[in-house]
Amino acid sequence: MKSTFKYRNRLIKLAILPFLIANSAMIQGQENNNNPVKLTPCYMEGLSDRLMCGSIAQPLSDNPADGEIDIHFAVIPAIKPSNPDEAVLGFAGGPGQGAVDLARVFNRNLRFARETRDIVLVDQRGTGYSNQLQCDSDDLKTQFAFNDAITDLQTMSKQDTEQCKAKLNVDLSHFTTSAAAKDFEAVRVALGYEGFHLYGVSYGTRIAQEYTRQFPASVITSTLDGVVPMQQSFAAIGEAIDDSLLALFERCKNDVACNEQFPSLETRFNEFLAKLEQQPIEAQVRHPRTYELIPFTVTKMKFYSAIRLALYSHTTRSILPLVITKAAQGDFSPLAGLMANADLTQSLAMGMHNAIVCSEDWPQLTPQLRSKYSNTYMGKTMIEGLDIVCPILEVKPTDKTFYKPLQSDKPTLLLSGARDPATPPSWAELAMVNMTDATHLVAPTATHGIGSQTCAPKIIAQFIDQKAMQDINTDCISEENDKQFFMNINGVANTYSTPTANKE
């Protein structure tokens, strides 16, 4: 009898085994059912991987009468979800860029982090699929012909702004950084993550810091790439642009070939700017896409802006000596090509952009700061622009506490490029004054957003994994990453060939 009992016991054990499994499976299923968000497969430009997209309805403001706004988000699934409770939350820059549309970029910068964790991208309210606040912008042809020096710019921007305001027809005060931070938290709750590893780029670092301030318990680590300190206005950017441009001139001067091909580049640039300031040049160029002859009014603002945008990437930086020299010689084709290439206005939600800067950056400008920032051309231009736009948009100024540097004990990694024309390393130093566990890495030759340039993706992934910067080798950050200058219209010039050839 004993053996029967034993045998039965064995069978029972066998029978229990699948049952326990079934039980645990049921619990899992239930957890998923509690999930209120419906995720559907979706695809984003330039990324073949299947993402899961969804949206949640969020109150537009504290007043229920204002209604709701749908916040859209996408999850790039982890390759091996060994940390299902954590995800990396990517914040886009701008302000005004939609994070979901940038899935390709986030996927590339966070490719190592994605090996074990999901990446969550949320379109901040007013951007991307979350009720994008876009104003109409001129087409390329109009932009080329437009003479911003002669036209009464003030009246025109006023009209544009009023038109945009009427088109958007919404109180922009609901689209500030502090309002948006709550949406990100709601998405976290809806998706059921216990915590986020933050990854913000450019303006994205400001919202990341605000999110950390409002919801410290939801933040595991924070990676800020191209840091905007809370206490700093965007209008301070002018100095960074000038520094970045100076670094370019300096590099060309120290490069034998570049100096030979484009001698005294800086002087030439400044002389040309002065010339433009006196009198814009009326020229004709081929339309970069249709090839028809179109009028091109070269003004100081257009020229400087095109150069400024080109400073962001090493690829476009490499042709700047050529563009500047050609323009000074009266050949504006390279400039036209550069302007066609950097058609940024389309991807920025200008309504949301203005909501942020008018609520957070404009009110902060004291007379002292105004005069300080106006020392640079771009700073001055920006302040003038804000002075026109912001009074019309009537966005409520943000709370004074917003400008306090973030106090945080979260492991924080700050990344800067020394040649960044927007958020230089000094800004990161300013941001980290009250952070107790912060590490600042500076890539000496990198520009804006070093996550797309250097070996930073690997370091970010290690940092997220270990939740600390100790024991992480960061040597590779200091490797040079700039590109050779374009010496002539085809690339390398043959004039400065090998030394042996010169001897002959």
Binding site: A25, Y291, K326, G337, K483, F486, G491
Partner: protein
């Protein structure tokens, strides 16, 4: 009748459990297969995964500092030392007229020398080629920009690929091996047991003793098949548990996919594998009775097992034709793979093949029972 079967089944199980070592020997496969496979895969992964830093030989590097710097930014560097372990047998030769052609806007020649039949090198060659293609298009774009032309004109099509694969479904080949090893358990875990309980019993002369009882030979066969199937299923449960623990330890994510053995999959597997276990047991018993001696049975069973293995293999390597996909084992394994991938399960194939599996089980059992009525078989004459 149920009672008789119960008693007989109990007898077979007790008989089998007596020799614990041989039972364990059968189950070792279930424990060892996933572990062995993971070790193998880990080694393979190291070979496959392109290490971050790749060193190659570049001749005439001075002619193309831009290209060299670009490659370096993608972690493809010039080896300073010929004995560098990272140095791969890839040589780039920058032509002497590189600068000349480049500055005149003509294609500048770069020659890549490598052995493409070397499988270990393939991935690295691709990487170098890709990096150079990026550089080429970057320079080309800047050439257009400096002529005032939008480089996007070069892209007549914006080709968007929507890959429907999930991280779980990308490892098709590996998944095939995983399910293959699982299905194989059903055959191997109880193989020695199957031979022992039939050919062995005959050799120990206890078979004739058993038959001398007032029992139908079908009952005896069914009890034997049942006991063997029980041990097969035990092997299956063990391999599933071991797989669940071991597979997540391999760094699959480096290859861009994952293998997750979920509890749902384990249940699904147990459910659809049960008929296979019955079929495999009855097949092995049948073949063992056909053989004249224990040793002969061992050879025959091993040989016969080649058929299910082949069926499983064609599914693993995805060379199954549409017809083969309907056959037993192949269809079940295909269903298992689709389940892991999260794809819809091919229900008609699964139902048909399960039906055929059950019919085969009945057929083999019936044939074995008939054989036991012949003295030639009972005494191995």
């Amino acid at each position: 009748m149920i009672n008789i079967l119960k008693v007989l089944f109990k007898k077979e199980v007790t008989d089998a459990s007596r020799d614990k070592r041989s039972v364990m020997a059968g189950l070792y496969y279930a424990i060892g297969a996933p572990i062995g496979m993971c070790l193998l895969m880990s080694i393979l992964l190291q070979q496959l995964a392109s290490p971050d830093a790749l060193k190659i030989t570049i001749e005439n590097a001075n002619n193309a500092p831009g290209l060299v710097a670009h490659l370096a930014s993608r972690d493809i560097k010039v080896a300073d030392d010929k004995n560098d372990p990272l140095l791969k047998a890839i040589t780039l030769i920058i032509s002497d007229d590189y600068k000349q052609n480049m500055s005149e806007g003509r294609p500048a020649t770069v020659t890549l020398i490598a052995d493409k039949s070397d499988d270990k090198l393939g991935k690295h060659i691709n990487r170098v080629e890709k990096a150079m293609a990026v550089y080429s298009s970057e320079i080309a774009s800047l050439r257009l920009v400096s002529r005032g032309i939008d480089p996007n004109l070069m892209r007549a099509l914006a080709i968007e690929v929507n890959d429907q694969a999930t991280p779980d479904s990308k490892g098709g080949m590996i998944l095939g091996l995983v399910t293959f090893s699982i299905i194989l358990t059903l055959f191997y875990a109880a193989m020695s047991l199957a031979i022992d309980t039939s050919a062995g019993e005959r050799e120990r002369n206890s078979l004739s003793l058993l038959l001398s009882h007032p029992l139908s030979s079908l009952h005896i066969v069914l009890a034997k098949v049942g006991a063997i199937a029980a041990f097969s299923m035990l092997g299956l449960v063990i391999i599933l548990i071991v797989s669940k623990v071991v597979y997540p330890m391999v760094a699959w994510e480096q290859l861009g996919f994952s293998i997750t053995i979920t509890p749902e999959f384990m249940l699904f597997c147990i459910a659809i594998c049960f008929p296979i276990a019955l079929m495999s047991s009855s097949l092995q018993v049948f073949v063992s009775f056909m053989a004249k001696s224990f040793k002969e049975a061992q050879s025959y069973v091993t040989m016969v097992l080649f058929i299910p293995m082949a069926l499983s293999m064609v599914t693993t390597y995805d060379i199954a034709t549409d017809i083969v996909q309907w056959l037993p084992i192949a269809a079940q394994q295909f269903a298992l793979m689709e389940f892991i991938k999260g794809n819809p399960i091919p229900v008609p194939q699964l139902i048909l093949s399960t039906g055929v599996t059950v019919v085969l089980f009945a057929l083999f059992s019936f044939l074995s029972a008939r054989m036991l009525k012949s003295e030639k078989v009972v005494f191995g004459l």
